[in-house]
Amino acid sequence: MNHHFLEMKDLVVEYTSGGSIIHAVNGVSIKLNSGETLGLVGETGAGKTTLAKAILGILPDRSAKVCGGEIILDGKDLLKLPQKEMLRIRGKKVSMIFQDPMTALNPVMTVGGQITEAVRLHENLDLNESKRKTCSMLEMVGIPAERFNEYPHQFSGGMKQRVVIAMALACNPKLLLADEPTSALDVTIQAQVLEMINDLKKQYHMAMLLITHDLGVVAETCERVAIIYAGRIVEYGTKDMIFRSPAHPYTRGLFGSLPSMNSDVKRLSPIPGMPPNPSDMPDGCAFAPRCPYACEKCQNGDVPLAEIAPGHFCRCFVEKEE
């Protein structure tokens, strides 16, 4: 029944760096419906941003290459589209919010000018109509329209991020890629921005891919969650499944290493060791060197993503005590 709005199948993205080849994304498949938010959780280097950039087609030409898989958006494979078509999709159907609001805005253009530029590129509006649309976008994100002609340095971090969001939403995209949209913001501002994103998502019936390392943010905004480690999805399911019964040892490790505000744990239980060096991946399961449940079998060959409960997938076959 489900015609997924976004379907990614076995995506593989390679980076060549100094002669060695690194698989930043190593066979990732995800599905996203309109109006739904998928949280993509992982640490630095896990491949989350690469994934988002691959969808948008903005991977650095020289060093990165998509060498496998499909990204099907509303029936069309984005990887097979010519540049001209991608230009029409980028910003209009698919939009991205980047991580650092401090550098995402052009310092020598007014904020109004930047949003208007995005509007004019994609909509057939004349200058005045574009400006009006821009003003309404600014109001929607909580910025008085009088600030149209101000420059980014005159805004605080939270407001800059709101401008970035206004730019991303200016053309009513159907899919929003948000790369750590609130990591650089203060907690109270983060709360405001997340609430705003949620409202806008409902208003526009947007699909959203939310990339973050913060499980709290995921709990507040996502319906489904995918955990990514070393370029592969290691666990995937609804928010309830992942939060109430995390199956993969890495997911459990993430929850276990979180300091909690509500209890007095004497010592945190961090995941031992370090994330793997992408150019020097261990054989078999990438998490095995750090896994408390690892066994001989884990080092031999790829571990497949198995459905351990309806809709709940896990890339681990070790029997764990509950």
């Binding site: 605080s156 907690v187 290493s257 370090m274």
Partner: protein
Amino acid sequence: MATLLQVEHLKKYFNIPAGINHAVDDVTFKIEKGETMGIVGESGCGKSTLGRTIIRLHDATGGKVLLNGEDITQAKGKELKRLREDMQIIFQDPYSSLNPRMTVEAAVSEPLQLSKRYNRTEILEATERLMDLCGVEERLRMSYPHEMDGGRRQRVGIARALALNPQFIMCDEPVSALDVSIQAQVLNLLMDLQEKLNLTYMFVTHDLSVVRHISNNICVMYLGQLVETCPSKDLFDTPLHPYTKALLSAIPSVDLDNPMQRIMLKGEIASPINPKPGCRFAARCRHATEACGQPQKLEEVMPNHFVSCCRIKEL
């Protein structure tokens, strides 16, 4: 337990073209030996400036800081050098806090060299010991910072801070720039070191969940003013100041069964430049009245629980 550090009405103002930036305005608290005081607040609240003023990287504009009973705000020259050995700092950004052109070993041994009290062998041994203590692997000791990841660099930063055997360490957001799984490792290390070496920490951070774990007491700051201070558990169980309540409610929770009731703050953070007298949170506070325009005082509302709010008794 002895009081190691006492801060009294500390002020730090900066002169900038736009006026006077009241970065730290009349802050008072004390830290007992061997304990950790968490300083929380959002960006621009002055917590970093507070920390740096206390350890004399900035000179205070007013007020006093007493270390072991001695006023250190006016110390100069040799005395200041001696004091610096007792108070060290761990920086937030592991990428910029180490000299990119110095090996990690040189960075850790530098404080020892500068103190001129040790010969070469002693310095080498001490450096080895410090690196062992902080979990820096032997094969990395002659590396340069750019060859190591954030977590390891931060361990080097900690080893450097311990070199001179300080009593007090100012930790300026030491784990904020690290990945979640590495954060936990470094926090555990800090807590272990505190136990082993009887260190006293001032832990500055914006992350409330982290601060609960590591602190005995917490101070909440807003725009340079201290609004609430109490033991950690009390802050989370019974927050009193309206800002504290809003701050706690804003944190996204991983507990699906107990979602947070958000207290939404209206408006934006005011500017600390040439501020009006009185409570600086009043502009965003739902309970603000005329009286909030008067300078506020820190009052003990519950045992050991101080709040700076004139309306606290009614709320």
